[in-house]
């Protein structure tokens, strides 16, 4: 199954929920100060566990950076 993550396509072999997916992408880093959108909808952290990814989903993981 293909998932788009921050603009790049990634192939996933098994069914996964958003929580597992984000944790894996963060490489063990604490998911603090980040936000996740799935197909242009914000998914609050409390909903990550129950959100199962499907084919062609578009995931954005963002955080705050320097800005004016």
């Amino acid at each position: 199954m293909n998932i788009k993550i921050n603009g790049e396509v990634l192939e996933l072999n098994e069914k996964t929920n958003l929580s597992e997916f984000v944790t894996h992408r963060l490489n063990g880093k604490e998911p603090r100060g980040i936000a996740v959108a799935l197909n242009d909808m914000i998914i609050p952290k409390s909903k990550w566990n129950e959100t199962i990814l499907s084919e062609n989903d578009n995931v954005e993981i963002v955080h705050a950076v320097q800005g004016g």
Partner: protein
Amino acid sequence: MSNLTIAGREFKSRLIVGTSRYPDPHTMLQSLEASGTDFVTVSIRRLNLKSADGQESIMNMIDRNKYWILPNTAGCFTAKEAVLTAQLAREALETNWVKLEVIGDDETLFPDVTELLKAAEQLLRDDFIVLPYCNDDPITCRKLADMGCAAVMPLGAPIGSGMGIRNPYNIQIIRDLIDIPVIVDAGVGTASDAALAMELGVDGILMNTAIAGAEHPVKMAEAMKLAIQAGRLAYKSGRIPKRLYANASSPVEGLINS
């Protein structure tokens, strides 16, 4: 001197400072300190998932007990993008404040007014505290104020241009028309620009490049702090009217040859 109050929150400084483009994080932190600000802007960007040493979150550097955070929607060209970015910022930073930027053009970075109004309306309905970056157009500012924005932030000149206040008369009209705080956002190049804006009666100034891009950012931050204080004090003091001809300041009575 009275403090700047936006959406019921009181700030000790009338200067809002951007956190971008400093030579290094240490200079940024020192500049924020020297500016006296307690209100800073940040951006929302994709997390770099490829390398461990990707762009560090600004929130690891900024003490939130010291600075109120204003996330922006810089880089957004449509209402849809801006609304999504504001919602992401709210989730990531746990704040419903947003500096709403909807850009119409890459070269001028002028706001796209129709998209800006649309985004502001949607965000206000979604309980955001909206501080829109807008043109120095009194009618747009009035519409944003009537809608329920917490402040209006007309530009002095294009972002990063350092051209100063290109249309002081419009800024003055905006000040007269609008009851909510007016913050000049963008265009300030040096201290006199900041003082001039404040003398026009605006409530505060948001700047980034003028400080971060200066040869000595920390010193410039202090210069801006002083200019804003001086400009505000002058505005409150009521300047003398301009006149074309002289008006002697020494007494004209009792001159020795009279």
